[in-house]
Amino acid sequence: MRATPAPEIMLEPAYDPAGRGRDPIGTSTLAHKGLNVRHGTILTLEDINVSFDGFKALTNLTLYIGVGELRCIIGPNGAGKTTMMDVITGKTRPDNGVAYFGETLDLTKMSEVQIAQSGIGRKFQKPTVFEALSVFENLELAQKTNKSVWASLRAKLTGEQRDRIDEVLQTIKLDSSRSRPAGLLSHGQKQFLEIGMLLVQDPQLLLLDEPVAGMTDAETEFTAELFKSLARKHSLMVVEHDMGFVGSIADHVTVLHQGSVLAEGSLEQVQNDERVIEVYLGR
């Protein structure tokens, strides 16, 4: 457990409907109003255990993500990467363990919606967009704003919000298909749309599950640049199998194996780690 923070910084994350103080590609100021990151750690996972009918998906997993960090998670299939993301986003409840967002928000006690509203965004392994809505509408729904029923009933896009969506549309290169139904996009375009939705959602922590699957080399390269520009202003956690991509973005890599952390460090360090080599190459 962390030390009890001083009361004046225990504020709940507040909405920023006007979207003030953002730069062109969706990054906002580092110190998000409300989230207490006093110790420089945005995500704390300690001794997390998850088991499904006896099968241990996560065993004593301990992991910290620093503010503004870009962390890559690698690991063989079944290492528990997706389950870890499920735990962070509230989809799966851990059997025991500590999961904190910032210093004060206990993720194990929050619902999925509360977690999302507090500033954790997630991109799924399989791109999921709202297929019946247009690209623009997808972004509109994702945009950070008051998301209650009454607000939606009366919502009208402000000029600023519209501009913001237009910027992101340009960033993800979907400007020309803004009014196409999202269901008609290609796989790679859907990936970008989902990333765009994360950008307008403006979370402090982005969880990205295999973001470059199905992308061309050029698109992958572009995505790498995008993520690098996001880092420092946002914290990112990227699960990826593509080692080239990992090498091009990560300053810090965590290897998961059988539900717990096997190794941590720079990509080079990790790649030379005996145990990692054993896990990946077999004994």
């Binding site: 986003t89 989809k91 619902s111 999925e112 919606v113 999302a116 509203q117 965004g121 997630r122 799924f124 999921t128 967009v129 709202f130 297929e131 019946a132 809505l133 247009s134 509408e137 509109e140 729904l141 994702a142 950070k144 998301k147 209650s148 029923v149 939606s152 009933l153 009366r154 919502a155 139904p181 269901g183 008609l184 939705m197 959602q201």
Partner: protein, 363 residues
Amino acid sequence: MTMPLNQTLLARASAKLGPQASMAIGLLVLAVLLAMPLLHLLPADNALHVSAYTLTLVGKILCYCIVALALDLAWGYAGLLSLGHGLFFALGGYAMGMYLMREAAGDGLPAFMSFLAWTELPWYWYGTDSFLWAMCLVVLAPGLLALVFGFFAFRSRIKGVYFSIMTQALTFAGMLLFFRNETGFGGNNGFTNFRTILGFDITAAHTRATLFFATVVLLVASLYLGWRLARSKFGRVLTALRDAENRLMFCGYDPRGYKLFIWVLSAVLCGLAGALYVPQVGIINPSEMSPTNSIEAAVWVALGGRGTLIGPLLGAGLVNGMKSWFTVAFPEYWLFALGFLFIVVTLFLPKGVIGLLRKKGEQ
């Protein structure tokens, strides 16, 4: 589900047919509907006279159109297929029926209660002699039931077919309850033999005309409401909810509130339709709550085209028109026809008649 379904027919068809054409059709239908009650007031030997039978039949179908629209708001937009909307319809109807029974009974007890040798009104009947309170009940009874049921159902994330089955069980339970004499709603026979409404003879031409007119107004109002909702961000959230609920939650929307809102709204619309149905048809009994009725409403929507606003109205009109014709011409075969309709619509017309028209329009 690759086509956007959340746009109104008018918006879509106008792109194909031209806004003038579809607008003209809509206005024409509206004009005919508004003229019908006036024509009913003409003397019976007038060539343009609309008979009470026709007016009642069309009024009944208009009530069903409102039900279809309400169901479509829940199913077509939010993906909540209710097989229990008959319950809300009947609750609205019963609330109105209570008022009409009190009105017919004067100071005494409603006839069926005297028949059961009851000496006083059950507590839930108090105040039903006031039209205003009865109207409150029309809204409250279905609304509160939908609220409670929806609250629990959405809280535990019951969705898809599970939700449908639960709603069906709900209306079935309601039917069993209302079939009992002790429940205090006339048992098997329900309510009938109404005399007056607000002091006016319920069978008089001008009363019928007024009721019919009220139905048209309610229909147009519901249509406008649906149109506004579908165009709002709320409507888009619903569509998103229908297609990818999990994604929506990770965007920070709480689906429960959205579902609950549209679900209760839909139930209340149904209740209002029921309240207008009862004085026009002159009877309400528990068979209105039978699961068959509710699921039939689903086929109106499916036939017309769900996720559109005009589709359900078209579907309700077509199926009920067919039903009226069949039950006179070939009563034995109506269930066959209805059964085949269910199959044909699901197999060959996934987007309903509206989808078919659109396709034609695009070619």
